[in-house]
Each structure stands twice: as structure tokens, then as C-alpha cells.
Amino acid sequence: MSEASVIHDIGYQRYTGPRLGRGAVFGAIFVHGLRAAYGLGRSAKAKIFPWLVVGIVTLVAVILAAVRSQTGVVPLNYIQFADAMSWLIIFFVAIVAPELVSRDLRAGVLPLYFSRPLRAADYIGAKVAAMVAAVWGLLAVPQLIMFLGAAFTTKKGMSDVWHELGDLLPGWGYSLLWALLFTGIGLLIASLTGKRAFAAGGIVAVFLMTTPVVGVLSILPSTDAQEMAGLASPMTLVSGVGQWLVPSANTGLMIGNFGPVYAIEAATLIAACLLLLLARYRRVAAL
């Protein structure tokens, strides 16, 4: 070895700086997860799918905003927009949920996390928060584009903008409901397997298989059965809650007087998914 290639050893130095608490650690996992959801800091391959979905959804929003500003017709309102994008959201969830949790399971990284000052609830809580933010952003940003399109081309000034904002905010809330429910289901399925393909397939299968059930129920002769058909699938469940809370949304789903049932089921389903996730990671955390 030549003289020049010798690395000068300055020895080991102790760390005397600050050590942050669990809040900061939660934040670090959240940001890491949010970036991973969109493939940031990953290979180009990991970016293709999320950004393809982002591109399509944004393009649709731009077209909707353009049509509205040119013709004055509203092809889709904020809530209908979220519903129309449902399959894209499902594919997004099917890619992102395994990226966030299956990957750690497969690589066996979890012992490295849980041997640090961090609890199961911190880990999975940060992952849920990251994915909810990712899915919500997927819908909320295009909705914002639609809002801006409408706000800048309004003919009646501020009152119209305020009115439009009154439509946007429930739309954002509705997107949050989508994000919560789909994150809960997606992460729960993905947390069961380290194999990404299985996790993605499982997530799509849950949504694929429940949709025909809704179809069958909705053509039964009983109106009660028809109005409760939407409860059978997560997608129509969300639509039902939206229809109940914002009757002017015209989701096309007949829910009759069963609105509260939809809301209760949605809340229960979200809570159940999150609790099961927590229980699952409590066990995993014990290695």
C-alpha cells in the first residue's frame, strides 16, 4: 500500500450533541414514509408508478378545470372527482402500502427499529400517518387545482370564491375519509406478508371481490337491500358517507335513510384496521 492511500485515523469520537425524543423519531419515520410513498430517494423504477398515478389524476383535474372555465359546465364536483379516481387510488394504495410495511418485514429491519427508543405504536402510527398524507395529497392537490381553476375564472368575484371554498373543504374532508379507510385496509393486508407482490395482489383482490357483491345486492327487489348494498364494499361505503354528509354531492349511490349506518360502519372499519395493525406490531416489536 502506498503512503498516499493510508487513511489518517482520527479515532473514535463520542457524540455529545442533543438526542431527540419520540416525537422527532415519529416525524423522521413519517417523512421517510411519505418520501418512500412517492419513490423519492429511491431508484427511478420505484418512482414510475406513483408518479404515473399522480400524472393521470392531475391531468384529469386540469382538464376538468379547463372545461369548467371555458364552458361553465361542472363535469365532476370535488366529491364525484374523488369517486371517479377510486380505482387509481386503489392501485396507488396497492403499490404504496407494501412499499411502506412489507419491505421492512421482508428485509428483517424491524429488530433494528425496535431495539431503539421507539414503540410499536410510534412505528405503525408514523407509517399510517405517512400513507394517509400520501393518499390524501394524491386527491387534495388535484382538487386544489380544480378550485384554483374555478376561483380564477369566476365572474362574480369574491362571493363565488367563498362559495367554491365551501365546496372544496368538504371535498378535502371526503378525500381524507378515502385516505383513512384505504390506508387502514391497505396497510393491514400489507403487514401480513413480506412479499410485495402478494400484498399488492391481496389489496386489489379485497376491492375487486367486494365490488360485485354491491352489484348483486343493488339489484335485489328490496329497497332496503338496495340502499344498504353500498355497505358491502369499501369504495361504495365511502361514497355513502359522502352522500349522507353532503347530499348535494350526487354520488349516484342511493342510501335512503341509512346514512348514519354508512358512517358508523366506516368509522368502525377504520378503527378496527388501525387496532389490528397496532396489535400486529405489538407482537412484531417483541421480535
Binding site: 473514535y12 438526542r19 425524543g21 428485509a107 429491519v109 433494528l112 431503539r116 427508543p117
Partner: protein, 304 residues
Amino acid sequence: MSLIETQGLTKTYGGRVTALHDLSVSVEPGIIGLVGANGAGKSTLIKILLGLIPPSGGQVRVFGIDPTVDPDRVRAKVGYMPEHDALPPDVSAAEFVTHLGRISGLPRTAARERASEALRHVGLYEERYRQIGGYSTGMKQRVKLAQALVHDPDLLLLDEPTNGLDPAGRDAMLALVHRIGTEFGISVVVCSHLLGEVERICDSLIAIEGGRLLRADRISAMTEVSDVLAVEVSEGTEELAAALTGLGLTPQVDGRLLLVPLDHDDTYDRILRAVADLDLPLHRLDQRRHRVAELFAPRETADV
């Protein structure tokens, strides 16, 4: 203050399988070898020390802190290197170690700096921006060691750090562990099922078997009483033994060898003089340092 202290530590899984049974040890800072066969309870002990699983009975303290009550404070001071593969293939070592530094509570820039430092100390400075998937087994073990070092712990728990390494890799890893224990001022617990491997670098040794403590002591205490001189002569072994006994020594016949305890400085001279007086052809006279393994050998065979 003791580094690790356990008092009657017991762990049973499902009331049936006993992983640890009434284990009481007190360990001083330094490099500590934790040896035992696979399934002896080494990993269980480490998990209890980290507060990952609660013991079924008994007391445990790490740095005087009870990990069952305050695991976060223990874990902040401890770095853990698991036995199994624990690395994602599709990120660089620098990125991964930085991320785990942040999970340990380091601020962003500090995490990045410490990750580079840790990777440099384990000898991966040049390769740190390559994806881990392309690393050799030895390099992966080093990344695992670096992530345990990144938050500057006061104690490292290394579970089988030489697993899967070739002899040269083993030596390099052991030298690195020894350096961390001596130069970095960090105490290290090295788990291994290979006694010969850890005795080379450790100050003290804890041997467990079937969840029970076999022996815990400093290596020096284990070996100092067992220094003997081995004397071999081509003929007249009995005569020499008798002569040595006459000189007040206590030789033991071991095949063609005479083993004489080395308890005085002049033992050498007295043996040489006895051999010269009897005019015997001396083949060899050397000092034998008992390997720690021999201390356990009778017990081990008795249990098998």
C-alpha cells in the same frame, strides 16, 4: 456500577419452554463474551436486556436501569446487532445508517455525520454510497455493526457477529470488536457459540447452557491458576516425576508428558536442574496456558 446485573432471571415461553433459568450475573464494563450452544438462551437474554420481552421472574438492570420499566433509556445507551439478515437491499449503506441514526433520536445533520463516521470505523467508507444488495456477507455484517454504533452507545450487544464469515472475515470482525471495546471506550457483549473465538478478545466470559449459568468470570481469573509447564523426556519419565516430587513440586503424568504447576519463578530452574542431574534427554519444556475451553470441558461432556 455494574454494566449488567441480573438476579434470578427466568424466562419461560408459554409456561413450557424454559429459555433462562434463575440466571444471576453481575458484569463489569469491558468486552464480555456470552457463550453457549444454539438455544442456550443467549438471544433471550439480549431481548430481555433491551426490554423487548419481559422476564417471567427475577430482576434485571442495565446501567442500573430496569429495562422492563424504562426501556427507552436503556435502548438509548445500547446498540444492538442482530444475528439475522436485517438490511434492505435497495438503499445505500450511508442512507440506511443515517436513517437509523435518526430513529435513535439524532438530528438530521448529526445522523448523517455519525453514519459516515460509523461506516468509516467499520471500514466501509469508500463503499458507503453503494446499494447494500451488492455487498458481500462480510460487508453486510459491518453495516449491521455500523448501525449499532451510529448513536454512540455505551454498550453494544452483538449477536453472533462472525456468523457466515470466512476465517479472514472472522479475524477482521473480531479485531474490530476488540478495537471498539478497547479504543472506543464502549463496552461490548459478544454472543457466540464458538468459545475459542470470543476468548481471544474478551475480558470476561459468561457461559450459559440450557438457560442456566455455567460460569461467569474474568478470563484472567479463569486462566491464571491453570498455567502449567509441560515437560517431555524421551525416557525416565517416572524417575523424573519422583525427583520432582522430592523437590517439592507436584507433577502429574499425562501420557508421555509431565505437567507441573507453575507456581514459583524458580520452577523452571528446578525442573531443568532435576533433568540435568538425572541426565535425561529433554525433548521439550514449555508453558501451557490452559484454554478456557478446557475449564468447561468436563461439565460439557457430563451434560451430553
